[in-house]
Point group: C2
Chain length 204, copies 2
């Protein structure tokens, strides 16, 4: 029953109907003229869709892209991260335009010092390089020590995210959790950073 | 000359004129009928405005609020952080509505473990609590260990940001750098986190 799904998920029934109409949530299984059943996977999918729309601020079209990719056969963990990262790029990318070669080289250098292996097409590489370009024109020079501190912080949260996946046996749930974690991690970092900034600023 | 300002800042002269017209950049000082001069403070202000508009995606009205606050007499560092944090809230806040009391209590607990002192009105506290609420409904439970890892990362970047301010003697430049650093820090963290995620996902 849609009422039960609404109760278990905390999402209003009207919103659930809206999601089904838009195609981001599959319709329930009609088991009689009046009864429609929603499974555990419906509940999981509903939570994912809501997080992508409300926290990630993705468009319905982007949500559909993410879901299609998640439902592809043979999905692996690395690819799930890539999907989540690409879908969320729009809200993160610092500036329009391509990053400079110098900035990309600095990102590669800081990543090498951090011991990270990744491909040159990694979306995070472009984002970080765009920030370095923006900082160069802004009067705030990000030196290597400063960048290394941000890299150490990124390493800490990425390792913690990965540890949280260990207990999830089912591959399709793990992929959904990866997408949700990618969406939630950015504002969580931003929020805690603001508390820490206030703390250090008051001490000064 | 506006041409020199454009050259030194990398911002096209047409864009500079547009900023002056919108009131986010003061007009240059007219020293003769044909010559207008722009000072160092114009250059700094131009870089700040561009970062707020292009990277921070602030509206012209929000930029004006930030500038008015920065120009207030007796500005202190803590207040400069607060201004920057509030101006950037819109793009960060996770969900609509107030965070739950439970989530706020968890943020206070993680902050206490991190050794942070801050007021209950801190905007980061509300953001982090909203993420915790969103995660509870999303199928990804953020346990204390996971939150502590994010807090340790936030502490690392906030300490590095503060260290970068040490060399800036002039108070109004320091305030501008604080605002710029707050804008740039979020996408820098997000970019490096994506590289680190890919690294750990590949190793798995």
């Amino acid at each position: 029953m849609i009422v039960e799904l609404a109760e278990r998920s905390g999402v209003p029934a009207a919103t659930i109907k809206y999601y089904v109409r838009d195609g981001v949530l599959p319709p329930g299984e009609r088991i009689s003229g009046k009864r429609t059943e929603y499974s555990e996977s419906h509940l999981r999918r509903l939570r994912l869709v809501r997080t992508l729309l409300e926290v990630g601020k993705l468009s319905t079209a982007s949500v559909l892209d993410v879901l299609t990719a998640l439902d592809a056969p043979g999905l692996d963990i690395t690819y799930a991260f890539e999907i989540a990262q690409r879908a969320l790029t729009r809200s993160v990318v610092a500036t329009a335009g391509e990053p400079s070669a110098d900035a990309l080289a600095r990102v590669d250098a800081v990543s090498e010092r951090a011991g990270w292996a990744y491909s040159s097409g990694n979306i995070g590489r472009a984002i970080a390089a765009q920030v370095i370009d923006a900082s160069a024109g802004s009067g705030l020079y990000l030196d290597d020590e400063h960048l290394d501190a941000y890299a150490a912080a990124a390493d800490t949260v990425a390792a913690a995210d990965m540890a949280a996946l260990r207990d999830i046996a089912d591959r399709s749930s793990a992929a959904e959790v990866i997408v949700i974690g990618t969406v939630l991690g950015d504002p969580l970092s931003a929020g805690l950073r603001r508390i820490a900034q206030t703390h250090y600023a008051n001490r000064k």
